[in-house]
Symmetry: none
Subunit: 194 residues, 2 copies
DNA sequence: CCAATAGAATAACGTAACGTTATTCAAAAA
DNA sequence: TTTTTGAATAACGTTACGTTATTCTATTGG
């Protein structure tokens, strides 16, 4: 063992990288009332990206929705929120039940494009598609035309079928006799994030 | 002036009463990421004396979503349809988890009117409202102006606040100095039935 | 030569400490 | 009787501190 063994020392640029902490960013201290500590903690945790990424374009409703995280104050009206009248708060809504009529025939699809803007369907919107519904003319459907998936309004003119956009920048599509059309499902809901 | 004038002095029981502070209870310091400071502050804001009763359509997310019924043929792809790739169908989606970020701060509200058509918000649409989000200018918010509930885009021009429609048939609203404005929540999602 | 080591540097998190503001008490003074 | 005053207590926002976490690279040892 050498008497003057020395390692280490100053290194320019050494140090923990920014954003490597618990929240990925700097923090500051904030005074929180004791009764709200857990609520605030829950709020900070819920900021994690727990949302399902949607790598595949077609999805099904969750077969067994996970219960949402329950903060400790779940059973009382949270202080800090102006609360609606008591009887109003009793009314609850389960989005799965509201938006999914027939679960096994229901799929979700992300919209790609603006051809249906006039119908309130924007690029990136999430569509709820029910495959058990009949494809009535006038309804917005997921169609497979010659193997190409598209979202359009179905129209029937006499014996001819059309797939109509809801954006003047897009052309109407008439289904030719030699073409193979399949109506994959009917769009029931559009979910648009702001 | 007497040279030895003395008043004051120790008093048993003197002191500020407990619970007389900003939150009515003791606080402690908590580290909050810089980006969440406003959200946490909003959460902590105590009930305004200016709380406004809200109309009946206000709903909250179901606290315990019921499991959906499971038909016997759940795992069979309907014959005759080009089916999505098998791995796609494995992916599932729970709408409650996707659309409700902070359950205790989330409410639903039905839209009445067409003032926000340009933003894809139609009469009868269902709005997902998060009350923990800061009301940044440019965001679509639920505002209570002089007791009247409205859905508008919040805008700030200098020191003046505006509530902007997204429909030329409706007028911009400037918030007057004598007017009382409360931002009740921020609209995060629009659900539109077809 | 290469892998491991070590000291320094930097980020950031939880808690303690500090100074200020807010509220109360009651004896002394006016 | 009312007002004043010094002390006491609560609590809020901010700063300070110590610890944990992560990185850098020259030096050392094999």
């Amino acid at each position: 063992m050498t008497g003057n063994a020395r390692r280490g020392g100053a290194r320019a640029g050494a140090g923990r990288p920014a954003g490597s902490g618990k929240y990925g960013e700097p923090t500051r201290s904030l005074r929180v009332p004791l009764s709200r500590i857990d609520a605030v903690r829950a709020l900070l945790v819920s900021g994690d990206a727990t949302d399902h990424p949607l790598p595949a374009p077609i999805l099904r409703p969750a077969s067994q929705p996970e219960p949402l995280a329950r903060p400790l104050y779940a059973h009382r009206i949270p202080a800090g929120f102006p609360s609606p009248a008591e009887n109003d708060v009793e009314q609850t809504l389960d989005l799965n039940r509201l938006l999914v009529r027939n679960r096994d025939a229901t799929f979700f699809l992300r919209v790609d494009g603006d051809s249906m803007l006039g119908a309130g369907i924007h690029d990136g919107d999430l569509l709820v598609i029910d495959r058990s519904l009949p494809a009535q003319p006038g309804r917005i459907v997921i169609a497979v035309l010659d193997g190409a998936l598209t979202v359009k309004r179905l129209e029937k003119r006499g014996a001819r079928l059309f797939l109509l956009p809801e954006n003047p920048a897009f052309a109407e599509i008439e289904v030719g006799e030699a073409q193979e059309l399949m109506i994959w499902g009917v769009v029931t809901q559009v979910i648009h994030a702001l």
